[in-house]
């Protein structure tokens, strides 16, 4: 995906929130949406099943206005975490510029986190994207749950964050860590604007 277009003077970044089912991906987007000023609020598209799980994906266009002469947009997506929506996840990952991996901190969800991370890497590779270099941020969510139910941050990080990328603990349900995570992935994505984009568009 071309993230900077000199012809139209636009910067567009696609960020995908990835992770196992019920880890809090949609909650991240809902919090961001709730904090947008009215004039910047586009439509958050969210398709859920009867049981309130994300069926297809969530899409939140984030219009940041004109910055240094460039109309800047972030497009935030989530993927459905449930294993049987593999095709949708591949589709949503097309043209991705950065990924937030939302891990569920609950100890009993560790296997699901690992499986989802492996799924992410496989899908990125299928898309021709290098999982070792794509901007990635880890978010360890649900840190408000009782200590006995969640894994220590260090343990999660050692298991999941083998690339040693930035990581954040979060309580997405009340917004804790949500914007910090977004800021970090946005920063990583923007730092990659230069090299491949010059001369394009």
């Amino acid at each position: 995906m071309s993230v900077v277009n000199y012809g139209t003077r636009e910067i567009t970044c696609k960020i995908v929130y990835y992770g196992p089912g019920r880890s809090g991906k949609t909650t991240n987007l809902q919090h961001i949406y709730s904090k947008l000023p009215e004039e910047r609020k586009g439509k958050m598209v969210s398709l859920a099943t009867e049981t309130d799980r994300t069926l297809f994906f969530d899409f939140l266009p984030l219009d940041l206005g004109t910055i240094s002469g460039f109309a800047t947009r972030f497009q935030l997506y989530t993927v459905p975490g449930q294993v049987y929506y593999a095709a949708t996840r591949k589709l949503v990952l097309q043209g991705v510029d950065g990924v937030v991996f939302v891990a569920d901190s609950q100890s009993r969800q560790l296997a699901e986190n690992i499986e989802s991370l492996q799924d992410l890497h496989a899908n990125l590779a299928e898309e021709g994207l290098d999982p070792r270099t794509l901007p990635l941020v880890m978010q360890y969510n649900k840190r408000d749950l009782p200590a006995g139910e969640i894994s220590p941050i260090e343990e999660l990080d050692e298991t999941l964050n083998f690339r040693d990328v930035p990581y954040f603990s979060a309580i997405a349900v009340n917004g804790g860590g949500v914007f910090e995570t977004l800021r970090s992935v946005a920063s990583l994505v923007l730092s990659r604007l230069s090299a491949p984009a010059v001369g394009e568009a």
Partner: protein, 76 residues
């Protein structure tokens, strides 16, 4: 180290979060755009070419449309 989330009350006003985000990101984008140097780089001046001698009036093509038609026809 993981950055600890702000354990704030759900009721607490947090409308400034987006403004803070915007401030950071705007600064970063401005820096990045500046570093990209979007202006086209000045190309080195080519050596001045020798001027083509003026074509005498007798050689000027005056019947251009017919010639163009022939050329197009031959190229087919």
């Amino acid at each position: 180290m993981a950055k600890e989330p702000n354990k704030k009350d759900a009721e607490e006003e947090t409308g400034g979060e987006f403004d803070d985000f915007m401030a950071d990101i705007s600064h970063e984008i401005a820096q990045r755009v500046e570093s990209l140097d979007t202006k086209p780089k000045a190309k080195p001046q080519p050596e001045e070419r020798k001027k083509t001698p003026a074509v005498p009036d007798a050689g000027v093509i005056v019947d251009w449309p017919n010639i163009a038609d022939r050329m197009i026809e031959e190229m087919r």
